[in-house]
Amino acid sequence: MKLREELEILVANKVEFVVIGGQAGVLRQAIEFSHDLDIIIRATPANAERVAAAVEGIAGVHPDPDLVLGRDFQQYIDPATGTEIDVHLKLIAIPDYETALRNAGPIDGFDLDVAVLEFPALYASKRTDRPRDAVHRRAIEDRLRRLVLDSRIEVDDIVLACCLDPEIASLQSVSSRLESVAASTHQPLLQARLTAFDLHVEAVRANPHLHDAVRAVLGLDAGLREKLVSHPARLAALLSRLPLQLPPNGYHVRGRP
């Protein structure tokens, strides 16, 4: 079944949901393919009834609505086609539907009105031990990086936390305020990227919100620090262990006019 058809079934059944996981990355043009559709749902009995009906339309099985509300994660697969829908009540960094909704938005140019997790929340939710999630994180970094380089989105601490590298740092709009960002950002990922790329390290060191892991990296002698952050795979391993902090009221990537 096509992604669009699955979403149409959810919409037709008036399910309250947010698209998360790999298909959110597909809809946001970062990830090229996902084998399943993951959604996070509002945890109410009425919505569980609607979810059950939609799952039947997508995967050919009708779950008990009580079960829908009883497990944080459920996986339904149509035995005839392999079409899979995963239903979540929460996920990493996203404790409930309401949080997901605060960090989601529609897709520009997509005519179905569905809420899709935005890049930062998607990135935060993929901080797992699964290799596929590491690949997806990298795809999100690459997509955000391209959007920044093409001046299509506003750049702030959260965007930089996901994709700062020397090329982004050299953009005039970024370089002019990077030292002040280094001295004040609360984002551990951004502190780590600045440290890894040797950008305003003294300002990072003096940052009152310095994350303890970044402090530990800065405390290493130059040789050990080099080992930890100079190779892309080693740096990715470090970054995967640091949180992306989302504002309590949610976060939306802002497009540039």
């Binding site: 043009q29 994660f73 079409t83 140019g109 031990d129 795809a139 990715a236």
Partner: protein, 85 residues
């Protein structure tokens, strides 16, 4: 519903100094093993050059994803048909 669904688990939280020590230990282990067998065990690194140079329009992007989805569904059906024989 699948009884034992597969999903990623959260990475363990560690105090900063413990985390850094753990990551360095992994690197040192790779280096030691690599030296002993004469092979560089440093994992291949992601690189910005691996990303698409151009992201096509959304319609094209979704069309490609659907094509992969259709191939996967075809493989699923074929596998089921052969397992029934």
């Amino acid at each position: 519903m699948i009884d034992r669904p597969q999903r990623g688990r959260p990475l363990p939280e560690r105090p900063g100094d413990v985390l850094v020590r753990e990551l360095l230990d992994e690197i040192e282990l790779d280096e030691r093993l690599g030296r002993s067998i004469g092979v560089d065990l440093t994992p291949p690194g992601p690189d910005a050059s691996h990303a698409p140079v151009v992201y096509p329009p959304l319609s094209v992007w979704l069309e490609r994803a659907d094509e992969v989805s259709a191939l996967r569904e075809g493989a699923w059906r074929a596998e089921r048909a052969s397992s029934k024989k």
